[in-house]
Symmetry: C2
Subunit: 137 residues, 2 copies
Amino acid sequence: MLTIGDLSRKTGVKIPTIRYYEQMGLLDAAERSEGNQRRYAAPERERLSFIKHARELGLTIEAIRELIDLSAHPERPCEEADRIAAEQLTAVREKIEKLRRLEKELKRIATRCAGDQIKDCYVIRALAHHEMCESDH
Amino acid sequence: MLTIGDLSRKTGVKIPTIRYYEQMGLLDAAERSEGNQRRYAAPERERLSFIKHARELGLTIEAIRELIDLSAHPERPCEEADRIAAEQLTAVREKIEKLRRLEKELKRIATRCAGDQIKDCYVIRALAHHEMCESDH
DNA sequence: TGGCCAATCTCTAGTCACTATAGAAAATGA
DNA sequence: TCATTTTCTATAGTGACTAGAGATTGGCCA
């Protein structure tokens, strides 16, 4: 059995975060030692790795909860799980698109400073005047 | 003079957000009407547009505060402003890179479901097993 | 077996950038 | 004048943690 510290080291998830996931219902309430400390075995470790991976992919706690509920019902169709992954993919693509536009704008702003005093600073002027932007955001 | 509602409509910044910016010191404490309501003129509107634009570009409140402080000293060199913009650009580029890797992973996960039941679901299996991933995240 | 220190426990509060709500007061239009 | 809308302040909630206080437990060494 692993202590919470062992589990943390093995998964790379911080201790308070593990307790937080338990509180949020992503992890079942852990078994306890005689002295009331949490003890974990392999299945909990796998569950935590699942959660970590999903979080790294940007899924919300809520989405992860849905997936965990789904995986508790292996006979159900997996359309729901597909939908969650597809939604996440769409969200990620939208974020990338938005950030690309920002990158363009910032590149212009950050590399084109003509004066050397604040009063002539392109950065300040560009931020003050949206109409200097080339794309919309 | 504009009421807070007028200012909100003209800039697209929500009323509570305007009050929040005032509280955070990004906007000076507004003038007040006899009945204690906030009244705004052109300079405040410009300042708010500046803040909005900077926020859309992903700058933190703290970074915006720095820029505002800088713009209050027009004789200073604009290196600081350049640095803030450049840092932001780097941060945006890093975010894009990270999201690209996630997109790749999610694309694989979301489009490759073989079975039609949860027990065979690729989404669930992929999330459980990081070693199925092609890039690191 | 005692002592010690690291690890763990619970609980609360803080983070960021807002957003929402409640209850009261002011402004506006009919 | 009255009703409706807008604004006011103050407080609490959001998501996903992170940090801290103060108490208890675990494991090791002598």
